[in-house]
Amino acid sequence: MSDSVNSKQEDRRDFLKAGGLVAGITLAPGLLFYGVAQSRAPEEGVSSRQRWGMLIDTTKCADGCNDCVTACNTENGLSGKTGPQDSQWIRKLNVKDLHTGYVQSLPMMCQHCENPPCVDVCPTGASTKRADGIVLVDRHACIGCRYCMMACPYKARSFVHEPLHDQKPDVPRGKGCVESCTFCVQRVDKGEQPACVEACDAKGHKAMVFGDLKDPQSAISRALKSTDSVEVRADLALGTGVRYQGI
């Protein structure tokens, strides 16, 4: 346990160091901003100069590995139960090509669309997209109509069916509201990576990259430029923030 905590912290330090390095090297004032933006000041609001995204390399994602799911549950205080009425923010999909029989495994969660159907349909505006592209449910306004669940093409959302107790201080959740992956917004706002990405890295799979799509120097931007990646259900033209490579 302490081992993994240590390595997590080290990873984080590396990550911050890398961020500083990028900021230092580019020096050009405009680009400098992007480097610093990783650790936005607490009183500064999010801006559309950033767009958070994720790239998932399915070839590195092992069948049967559940590390990202476990990390998500721990971070966000989910029970980890998988009954039909239980919340699952991220899940592992097994995808088998019907013609060739080729099987792949990949994590599926909220794709943080550019044009999210859940935001379009929500009657109260509770389902919302932050300026930096993170799609959230504002539980203070959610009436629990579940229209967003009907509208989501990725089945990313869950409805909380029973009263909850002992929530995480950083992750409020409760009965009667709809919820889904937040890209671990409480961590991202502190300049950290989402829990799933961190876990995937820490366990050495390195199948997930998270970062700012609008920063040309970010690891994810560079990776996206050099590899072929796709959106799931690209036919719907939702402009997902999560992309997959290897499928």
Binding site: P84, P117, T124, C142, G144, C145, E162, G176, C177
Partner: protein
């Protein structure tokens, strides 16, 4: 006209009236019980889950809402197209529309995860949401139909009946389109993503609304010991037949166009062939009970059958049952069929991806659904008792028309 003393309102048949009221009240009480239980324990007690997010309550609610806009059709025909027989039925039609709408919206509200935040829904609109747009349509609907009823009942405002009637008519079309669009706008689901959804809902609303209107009208007549005039019955039956026939036609076109797109085949196969309960409800409920049976009742037996009042009650009753089946197939069936994330691939996960979802409505869903019917029923019973809603036909003109009809 021996029964004139006791037309509708007043002192007669009080015991029966309170019995009906009690029945409606019981249904509402049941819904309230379900509501408070769910409010306390959460939806864990229902059969709804993260796969089937809208269940039986929504089936009933959407049916009532759709029927509400259809029930107003009678008034529209009267005021917009100037048909006298329908004009005299306008008050009843308007009242029924409001009662149906109240019932439907009531269920929707009672099923919310956070009904305590209803005030949020009323004050914060997301204008992109077709759902919020519906809220505006519904509120406007209440206002306009209420106004319409006033113009009908108050002689001084008679001149306003026509323009307000027109407004109600177009508003009604908008409302039904919006209700249909609730599903049409859901791009991701194989069962909903069709431009035909909205027009199909409009035509179905005509059928369901008229059917309910006919049932209520017939009950009111028999309650007062009256028999609805043959000519009027004949007319309404014909109209119902047209609407039911059109609904059937749309259903056929809807599924045929779906078959045209290869990507929709799986869904069509599911609904039409191997969807279990949904296939059953589609063929037996929606197509046979909801269309074939009433159509044959309405067309066959012209010479003798039409003298039986029961035929003009039975046929619309079948239409109502068929309508509920149609809603179940559309709403629940559309969700039971798994989302396609990767076309041409087989998908499975811990979150029930790629499998047909099971739905077993629990007692609370039934209570909520029946509660919606109870609200409509109670409102209708009270309104009919308190106000003059029994159509006041000018029997001489009707009799004269009969020979020409």
């Amino acid at each position: 006209m021996a029964h004139e003393v006791c037309v509708n309102q007043g002192e007669c048949r009080t015991v029966e009236f309170f019995a009906l009221l009690g029945l409606g009240g019981l249904l509402i009480l049941g819904a309230m019980y379900a509501f408070f239980t769910l409010e306390h324990h959460g939806h864990i007690l229902t059969g709804m889950n993260n796969q089937i997010v809208w269940g039986l309550p929504h089936v009933v609610a959407v049916f009532l809402i759709v029927a509400a806009s259809g029930a107003l059709n009678v008034a529209s025909i009267g005021s917009v197209f100037g048909k006298d027989v329908y004009k005299r039925r306008a008050p009843l039609s308007g009242m029924l529309a409001l009662a149906l709408l109240s019932g439907g919206l009531g269920v929707l509200v009672l099923d919310l995860g956070r009904p305590d935040r209803l005030i949020v829904a009323m004050t914060r609109y997301n204008f992109h949401s077709i759902f919020a747009l519906n809220m505006i349509f519904y509120n406007g609907f209440f206002a306009i139909v209420g106004l319409y009823l006033v113009t009908l009942m108050e002689r001084k405002l008679k001149y306003w009946t026509r323009p307000v009637g027109f407004l109600a008519f177009f508003w009604r079309l908008g409302l039904t389109t919006a209700t249909g669009s609730i599903f049409g706008f859901i791009v991701a689901r194989a069962g909903y993503n069709s431009a035909l959804m909205a027009p199909m809902f409009i035509i179905m609303s005509f059928a369901y609304g008229l059917a309910i209107f006919m049932v209520v009208q017939a009950s009111m007549y028999s309650w007062n010991g009256l028999t609805l005039d043959l000519a009027i019955r004949r007319r309404m039956k014909k109209l119902l037949a047209v609407f039911v026939g059109a609904s059937l036609y749309f259903t056929v076109v809807f599924h045929l166009t779906n078959l045209y797109f290869a990507k929709q085949w799986d869904y069509e196969q599911f609904i039409l062939l191997d969807g279990g309960i949904f296939t059953l409800l589609f063929w037996v409920g929606q197509v046979f009970i909801g269309a074939v049976l009433p159509l044959s009742l309405l067309f066959i037996n012209r010479s003798q059958g039409e003298h039986l009042v029961s035929f003009s009650v039975l046929a619309p009753l079948f239409v109502v049952v068929g309508g509920l089946c149609q809603m179940y197939v559309t709403i629940v069936g559309g969700q039971a069929f798994p989302l396609t994330l990767f076309p041409g691939h087989e998908v499975h996960s811990s979150f029930y991806d790629g499998v047909v979802h099971a739905y077993h409505p629990g007692i609370y869903e039934w209570l909520l659904g029946l509660g919606g019917v109870g609200i409509t029923f109670t409102l209708t019973v009270v309104a009919v008792r308190v106000f003059k809603f029994l159509p006041q036909d000018d029997f001489k003109t009707v009799l004269m028309r009969r020979s020409t009809d």
